[in-house]
Structure formats: C-alpha cells, structure tokens
C-alpha cells in the first residue's frame, strides 16, 4: 500500500496520470491507509506543493486528519518520529485548506542532534526525514543542516557504496535542497545512478523525482 501510494505521488510529480488525489490511493476509514500516510509523511501531500491545491473539505483532508489522529508521536517518541509527524502537520497547514476545523498544532521537535551527531549517524537520520525536503517545510532544520552539507555529502557517497538506495536517495534529496553542495560530489549523476540501481523501488524513485521536480537536480 505504501509503495502504491509512493508510486502515485511520483507519477503526479512527473505530471503524468490523472490529477492527483491522495484519497484515490488511500481511502478514509482504513487503518492501513492512515498508517501509510503516517509513513509517507509530508510526501503524501507533495503534489499539492507544485501548483494545484486540494479543494476545501475534500476527502484528502479527512484521510490526513485520520492519520494524524491515529498515529501521534508518543511521549517518549524519537526526534525523527516527531519531525516526521511535524512534517505532515506543516504540509497539511500549507497545502490543505483546513476548513472550519483547525489542524493540530505543530509539535516542537528537537534538533540538537544536527550539530552533535557524527556524520554517518547524521546522514542516516536525515535520510529518514527526506519527506521534509519540500519547499517551505522545516525551514529551521534546513538552515541548521546547511552547516553540515559536507557531512551529508559524505553520507551520500557512503550510502551509495553500501548500496543503501533508500538512504542515498533521501540524502540526495536533502542535498538538492541545500545551497552549498560541493560540485565535486556529482549529485546529479549520483541521483541518476541511484534511480537506475534501485530496481524500481517506489520510495527511492519518489525521492529522486522530488529532487528533480522541486530543485532541478538529478535525472
């Protein structure tokens, strides 16, 4: 189900297929659909970041509300889990009208790890938050990550060498958003390579397509 939804998002980002509607892939009242939205996070609404926003009071709004209500971060949740939830809330604020019922408030997520994590751990964590690499989302996190661009570039190379395509694609997507990526990294061809080698993995493809569509990197 996650793969199907990710494929649908990637297709919409490429401008192919029917006009995007999240509720066409993930229907309301289905616990698995809510789980899939929580896993995809802000990416579930990524096509709305392009130009066309969802209409007010639509089914998309309902399925996102269900996902946010069903899987809130627990009190002892990790920073990644809170950031991921926050990304979905921010995307809902930005791309869905909200209607009469307000969206949940954006939770506070810790970011001390950005400065203190050693680079392999940082790279792994940042790749888990690839869905936040959407225009206008998690701006404070993007600003803090800019200072560690070189470490993320190291992580990208490491992930490619490990053949960890999901991590490589997630990192490549973040690097595409950051302003000072070293040109010697070869990010564009690297992302193309990851896409070729991932064997059609839907989530990897989604990250590569998002990097291309929103930031013009990769092929």
């Amino acid at each position: 189900m996650i793969a199907d939804a990710a494929s649908g998002v990637a297709l919409a980002l490429r401008g192919e297929g029917d006009p995007y509607a999240l509720s066409r892939f993930l229907r309301q009242g289905d616990a698995l659909a809510s789980a899939a939205i929580r896993v995809l996070g802000a990416d579930a609404l990524a096509p709305y970041a392009l130009d066309h926003r969802a209409g007010p009071g639509g089914e998309d709004e309902t399925v996102v509300r269900e996902a946010l209500a069903a899987f809130p971060p627990k009190p002892d949740a990790s920073d990644v889990s809170v950031w991921s939830y926050r990304g979905l809330v921010e995307a809902s604020h930005a791309f869905l009208p909200g209607g009469a019922n307000q969206w949940p408030p954006t939770p506070q997520a810790g970011s001390a790890w950005v400065a203190t994590d050693p680079w392999p751990k940082l790279a792994h964590r940042v790749s888990q938050l690839a869905a936040l690499a959407l225009p206008g989302l998690a701006s404070s996190l993007a600003d803090e990550l800019t200072a560690r661009t070189d470490d993320l570039a190291r992580g990208f190379v490491r992930a490619v060498r490990r053949r960890d395509w999901l991590q490589a694609a997630g990192l490549g997507r973040w690097l595409a958003r950051l302003p000072e990526v070293p040109p010697t990294l070869g990010l564009d061809s690297g992302l193309g390579f990851v896409r070729q080698m991932c064997g059609g993995d839907a989530r990897v493809t989604l990250h590569v397509v998002a990097a291309q569509r929103f930031y013009g990197r990769g092929w």
Binding site: A31, A35, V39, F71, S78, R161
Partner: protein, 61 residues
C-alpha cells in the same frame, strides 16, 4: 469485548510497525573494497600465468 481487545492489540501492532517504517534501522552493508578486489585479481592472474616450478633433470646421460 473480545473484539475490542483484539482491535486494540492490532492498533498497537500497527503503531509499532509504523514506528519501524518511519525510523528504519540501517541495514548491514557489504563492502567490497575495489583496491582489495584488484589486488586479489592481480595475484590470481600472476599465479595462473607463472611458469612451472623448475624440476631437477632426471636424465642421467
């Protein structure tokens, strides 16, 4: 009542699965160091093309 309890357990299992998917552990990587592989191939090639070990001649003439 039994149904409710089952539903709660299923929800908790699903929540745990979601946590695992949101924050997947890093898989163990398999490294193949290009330099080590190259050195191994070179050694194998040298062994294959090396001349046979000289043997003492058995001709007694």
């Amino acid at each position: 009542m039994v149904t409710d309890r089952t539903a709660r357990i299923e929800t908790e299992a699903l929540a745990a699965e979601v946590d695992g998917l949101v924050e997947p552990t890093e898989p163990d990587g398999v490294f193949r160091d290009t330099r080590e592989c190259g050195a191994g191939l070179l050694l194998l090639g040298l062994l294959l093309i090396s001349p046979p070990t000289p043997r003492p001649k058995t001709d007694t003439r």
